[in-house]
Each structure stands twice: as structure tokens, then as C-alpha cells.
């Protein structure tokens, strides 16, 4: 349990730096894929500093409060995960956090922001089955929902949960707001929704949103690593390698795809979830 607290504190302190750095790597690699030079690696941090230095204009004063709640709940999610408590609970808190983001979007009553927020809800509906199934998969394989116990059984789960892994990586594209599933907001300009759910967020509020995203990304990468850890150093190295590989894959997908309609996103994701995680689940239950 003591180790858990150390991990949790490390998460709180380091996650924004890791997340921001990964974001910088993302922008650099994307630029290289498009044969551009690209911004410096620390660009995301420059952006954040600038945003904090600007005047805050918010359409509705409660927006800041809602975003703060989103931020805190995201923090709680990560802390719970890295301190080794219930993984199911982590994802419930994560969903609650996303709901606050939805409210922060609709409260402004801007049409772009509202449509973005509604799409955010649809995205939640899309990835939630895969997320819940992943939790169930861990339970079936490890006999516990507890992250601590899952991580310390001494075997990598990827051999028993490959289908769940594929499903989870698939929905990661939605969670990380990458093309083709970046329907609610996007890092790129000139979309049909301007900036989607973040349209009415300026200066400090946008910075807060950005930092929360970094926390979320690090948490999600933690879940990816959970598939590979087996208590040994090699397990840790492999999980870190896989984590970088998955991150690169997301960047590649982002740069290769145009955005999809949300209807297609919903159908495709559910089909993939059913045929990977679902089939894996059935096999797991039969073999046990």
C-alpha cells in the first residue's frame, strides 16, 4: 500500500509533464509525417504558459467550476488507478469526469460547443462497452478488480486477453481525440464545429482542459501497460515498449484518416468490440 501512495504522488506530479512531452512528440512526428519541420518538442508547454497569461473571457462563470471538477475527477481516477484500487471504480469516476466536461460544453449555449458536447456523450456511449468489458476481462483473468492484485499475479495478461487489448486500443483513438474518431473536438483547424466542445473555452479554461487531457492520456497508457506487467523488470520494459508503440500507432492512424460520421464510429466500434472483446470473453468463460 505504501508503494501505492508513492505511485499516486508520482502520477500527480509527473503526469502533466509526461503527457505534455508525449503531446510534443505527437506534434513533431505528425509534422514529420507531413514532411514539415514541426514545432519544438516543448511546444505544448509554451502554449500552456501563454494561455495562462491571457485574459479570461468566459461566457458563463460556472464553466470554470465545471472544468475544475472535470480536472479533479480525472486526477482522482489516475490516483485510484496508480495507487492500486478498484479498476471498475476508476472507469466509473472517469465517466463522471466526462459528464462534467459535457456540462462545461453545453452551459455556454454556443451551437458549436453544444453539438460538440452531445457528440462527447455519443463517444462515451461508443467506448463504454469496450471499457467495461476490459474490466470484466481483468476480473476473469486475475480473479479481482483490484489493480494492485491484477498487477502482482506474475503473468502478463496479454496472452489471455488479446481480444480485450485490441478492443481497448481501438477505443483509445476515441478517448485520445484522434482522427477518424475526433468528432467532438479536434486539435486541427477548420472543422465543421470550429473547435467542438472547446469552442467557448479560452485562455485559462483551455489550459485546464489541456492539462486534464494529459492526465487522462497518461492514465490510459497506464491501462495499456497493465496488460503487460508481470511483476518483473522485463515485463515493465515490454509494457513501456508496447505503450510507445501504441502511442505511435495512434499518431499514424490520426495522420492517415479523415474524420468519420458519428454513426459510423458507433457501429464500427461496437462491431469491433463485439468480435474482439466479446469473443475473447466467451473463450475465457469456456476455458475456465
Amino acid at each position: 500500500m505504501n508503494m501505492g501512495i508513492v505511485y499516486a504522488i508520482a502520477y500527480i506530479v509527473l503526469a502533466p509533464f509526461v503527457g505534455g512531452f508525449l503531446d510534443g512528440v505527437d506534434r513533431k512526428i505528425s509534422a514529420r509525417m507531413q514532411r514539415r519541420v514541426g514545432p519544438p518538442l516543448l511546444q505544448p508547454f509554451y502554449d500552456i504558459v501563454k494561455l495562462f497569461n491571457k485574459e479570461t473571457i468566459s461566457v458563463d462563470s460556472s464553466q470554470t467550476f465545471l472544468l475544475l471538477t472535470y480536472f479533479v475527477l480525472m486526477l482522482v481516477t489516475g490516483v485510484m488507478f496508480f495507487s492500486g484500487s478498484d479498476i471498475l471504480m476508476c472507469f466509473f469516476v472517469l465517466s463522471t469526469a466526462a459528464t462534467f466536461l459535457y456540462f462545461a460544453g453545453v452551459i455556454t449555449s454556443s451551437p458549436y460547443s453544444s453539438i460538440g458536447a452531445q457528440r462527447e456523450l455519443i463517444q462515451m456511449m461508443t467506448y463504454e462497452p469496450a471499457v467495461l468489458l476490459t474490466c470484466v476481462g481483468f476480473y476473469l483473468a486475475a480473479g479481482s478488480f483490484n489493480v494492485n492484485e491484477i498487477a502482482s499475479t506474475g503473468t502478463s495478461y496479454i496472452f489471455r486477453l488479446p481480444g480485450f487489448f485490441v478492443a481497448f486500443v481501438f477505443i483509445l483513438t476515441i478517448k485520445m481525440r484522434k482522427s477518424p474518431f475526433d468528432t467532438s473536438t479536434s486539435h486541427h483547424m477548420h472543422q465543421e464545429l470550429v473547435k467542438g466542445i472547446t469552442t467557448e473555452m479560452g485562455s485559462k479554461n483551455l489550459a485546464l482542459f489541456q492539462i486534464t487531457e494529459w492526465y487522462e492520456n497518461v492514465f490510459l497508457m497506464g491501462v495499456i501497460c497493465l496488460f503487460f506487467v508481470n511483476g518483473s523488470i522485463t515485463g515493465l520494459v515490454i509494457s513501456l515498449a508496447v505503450f510507445l508503440l501504441v502511442y505511435f500507432l495512434e499518431i499514424l492512424i490520426d495522420n492517415c484518416c479523415a474524420r468519420m460520421k458519428w454513426q459510423d464510429m458507433l457501429v464500427i466500434t461496437w462491431i469491433v468490440t463485439f468480435f474482439t472483446a466479446g469473443v475473447n470473453l466467451v473463450i475465457l468463460m469456456v476455458i475456465r
Binding site: 514541426g38 511546444q43 502554449d47 483547424m189 473547435k195 479560452g202
Partner: protein, 151 residues
Amino acid sequence: MANITRSPWLLHYDGSSCNGCDIEVLACLTPVYDAERLGVMNTGDPMQADIFLITGGINSQNQATVKQLYDQMPNPKVVVAVGVCACTGGIFKECYNILGGADTTVPVDIYVPGCAARPQAIIDGIIQAVELFQKRSDDYKAMVKEKKRRG
């Protein structure tokens, strides 16, 4: 004072132009000129923008829009007029509906001449705007501090 010159986000508005300058603005973001290496991002959102880039002149119909976009941008902010049209009204100056350059409606800080303005000139204009942006930001911070001190 924090160095914030590394992250200028643009809001590009296309007034009464022939579209020539707009293409050049977009050319700045292509691999050849790659303005993103300077941290430049083209956001479509006034709430998140630092530099207001106007191409084309002001006519009686878009005047209100330009004014509103300018007002929606949070301080500190800088306005850049790209192309002769945005500077003075240019080739369309004599038209019955044209009121003139962008400075008829919003306070323009940097003028980038040319018809069409070359990407090099536009990037140069953006860099000058960034310097001004830093100065304004320092002033703005000092102002906020002063306000706090007075209570």
C-alpha cells in the same frame, strides 16, 4: 515576464478579398513554409486566438462581423492586415460597398503589403506581430498587477 512569443495562435478572417491572399496565408502552413515550426497555429476560434489576421477589405456587410471577432478575442491581442486590400481597400477601393482597409473597423498594428502578399512577407508580419504581442502581454500583466494592488 514569461516569454510567450513562442505560441502565437492565429484567427484568419477573409474579408472582401479576391481569395489570393487567403491562399497565401494557407500556404504559410504547408510543408514548404511550415509556420508551425514557430508555434503558429491557425485556430478558427476567436476565444483562443492571439493574432487576428485579416485579408481583404471591409465592406458594409462584414464590418459588424470583423468588429465582433475582434471583441471576442481575449487581451492581449494583435491585428495584422495581410495584402493591399486589407491595408487600404486595394483594387476594390472604389467599389460602392467597400469602406476601405481593415483599419476602418479595428485598430491594425502590422500592415503586410503585396498583391498577393508572399508567404515570406506574411510570416515576417506574424513575427513582428509576435514581438508586439509579447510587449502587450507584459503591459497587460503589469496592468493586472496594478489593479490587484489597488484592490
